[in-house]
Amino acid sequence: MAALIDIASWALILGGVAFSLIGAYGMIKLSDVYARMHAASLIDTLGIGLIFIGMMLQAGFTIVTVKLVLVLVFILFTSPVATHALARAAINEDVLPVVDTETERQMAASNKTKSSEFGT
């Protein structure tokens, strides 16, 4: 039984490592900042998710598992906010996504924060 749990936890952790590596490769290979954010989101969803589930199997029914679950939940709640903030920062600095049509570029550009929204 213990050996089975070890095998399962190894498989999950290796799976998480694989997704993290693919994400890192994508962050280098993809073309612009927006495309690279998609690769980064591989790492902070299934990448850490599988690694954490693997670690939970190692910890068993203990308080450590509870803490791992909480850390995972907090990462899942906060990482999209960080990603969104990154995208907004890029738009505000006039870094627009590389896309096929001008309409799509305009759609992205229309989200630039107007200076009046800061009360200036």
């Binding site: 997704f19 693919i22 994400g23 490769y25 994508g26 290979k29 993809l30 073309s31 612009d32 927006y34 495309a35 954010m37 998609h38 690769a39 989101s41 591989l42 969803t45 299934l46 998710g49 308080i63 509870v66 803490k67 909480l70 899942l76 709640f77 990482s79 999209p80 906010v81 990603t83 969104h84 995208a87 907004r88 738009i91 996504p97 590389v98 896309v99 096929d100 799509e104 570029r105 759609m107 992205a108 229309s110 989200n111």
Partner: protein, 169 residues
């Protein structure tokens, strides 16, 4: 008041799970910090339906497992596209309606879009979310409006597809 009690209960559970000690001194310190937190949160008036959304707790039982399944599926799709490269990747920008009635629902929807690999919400404006998608596949998944409808249901709002249809399904 109900939300203050619920916040206190959540903080108590949080404290007990994180500390794991049952010494009277530690428990008293815990109780004191929880009371201080609830008092400060009430004074700051941040315990409202946004800061402590107890109204969505029960609907979440069906929404979050569905979201996890979507995250796993799109993770695999995006990983495949990155490894394949070339024509599999076609970055695009699209706008989707967000039919949720209040800001909290729209934030949940936008965050769910961002959390799913392959789609990132890059702007929210009056019920419309601008999305950057990495591939046709992930963009089309969003265009169906399935996630939009599910977040509406999570908040207890009516299904947007029925309103758009203008009649009974």
């Amino acid at each position: 008041m109900l939300q203050a009690i619920s916040l206190a209960a959540a903080l108590t559970a949080f404290w007990v799970l994180l500390s794991g000690y049952w010494i009277p001194l530690i428990l008293c310190l815990g109780a004191a910090s929880i009371l201080a937190c609830v008092y400060i949160a009430r004074r700051m008036e941040i315990i409202d339906h946004e800061g402590h959304p107890i109204h969505i707790s029960f609907q979440g039982i069906t929404y979050f497992p569905w979201l996890l399944k979507e995250i796993v599926l799109s993770n695999i799709a995006v990983a495949k596209a990155i490894l394949k490269g070339g024509s599999a990747i076609r970055p695009q920008v699209l706008q989707v309606p967000a039919s949720q009635r209040d800001a909290l629902g729209q934030v949940i929807y936008a965050n769910s879009i961002t959390l799913t690999p392959g789609t990132v919400s890059i702007g929210i404006d009056e019920g419309v979310i601008t999305v950057h998608a990495l591939m046709d596949e992930t963009a089309d998944g969003l265009r169906t409006g399935d996630m939009n409808a599910r977040v509406c249901r999570l908040e207890g709002d009516p299904d947007p597809r029925r309103i758009a249809g203008g009649g009974q399904p």
